[in-house]
Symmetry: C2
DNA sequence: ATTCTTGCAAACCCTTTGCAAGCTA
DNA sequence: TAGCTTGCAAAGGGTTTGCAAGAAT
């Protein structure tokens, strides 16, 4: 993992109360994501699930991720190099990420100062329905040390 | 165009002095981009060039864009929905964008406050080699009025 | 002449979709 | 039983690459 780009929408999607059956595989994807601190790609999750003995289908992984994102349980980002989407279990409120470009590990952060700045800047140019994407990339302490 | 995501790298790429021949088609792409205030996709540029009577090849458009980005003359963003890349002629210094999610028109903006915040936040978590992606999306004045 | 540029078509990759079979409630 | 979930394979869409032909220096 290296350069990435944000894809999170700030607009609060009112998680429509879709009726969702348990689904063994879907649960497996959710569980793996729960224990993963880094942003991970669908392909990666797919490979890992199979490695750990779960013969899941790639389409199922994508469908599970789709559902999780829809429910607001997971955040999505896009890698800057190839546009691949990466997912991560996240808290529901509005927040941004501090992501390690080396291992993908991420920390949720918030910055009211940025929110205000974005709002003000947009307004100054006559823009409405303002929304923003903010992601910080760097090398985490562990990766810095391991190098 | 609608939701998008940033892909700009803050790391200053020391535009390697690549020897580049003029190239009629490459120039055409650069020219079109020069007169375009909005972030535009490769496919879109390709279509427009052909429409205006320039039988360019799609691969050439991509190669031209690649070169322009490499030289730091063009900025890239990724649409949030489909991960399509969009390009725009930009100034060389570090800056961010205020993009209209309706028409794609963009304004270059800068915010030292954000730069400082990003740096401070990253440092607080032990991250090094900090870099960040910040893009503001909204509906520009014109589009707001036209609606 | 040499070297870079352009086009076309094929190749790639990630992601989505159709459809039949398997589960869940 | 009815309806969602899963898999496989095929389709899609954007982007890249191989290779031969066409410019530029």
């Amino acid at each position: 993992m290296s350069e990435q780009t944000a894809a999170r929408t700030d607009a609060e999607v009112p998680a429509r109360p879709v009726q969702r059956r348990s689904g063994r595989q879907r649960a497996a994807v959710a569980a793996l994501l729960d224990s993963e601190p880094a942003f991970t790609s669908a392909q990666d999750l797919y490979a890992r699930l199979r490695e750990q003995g779960n013969p899941i289908g790639l389409a199922t992984v994508y469908r599970a991720l789709q559902a999780l994102v829809e429910d607001g349980d997971v955040d999505v980002l896009r890698t800057g190099d190839d546009g691949e989407a990466v997912y991560r279990r996240c808290s529901t409120g509005h927040h941004h990420h501090l992501v390690c470009r080396r291992c993908g590990r991420a920390v949720e952060v918030e910055g009211s100062a940025v929110e205000a700045w974005a709002q003000k800047t947009a307004a100054a140019h006559g823009f409405t329905d303002v929304d923003h994407v903010v992601e910080i990339f760097g090398t985490c302490a562990d990766c810095t040390a391991a190098r």
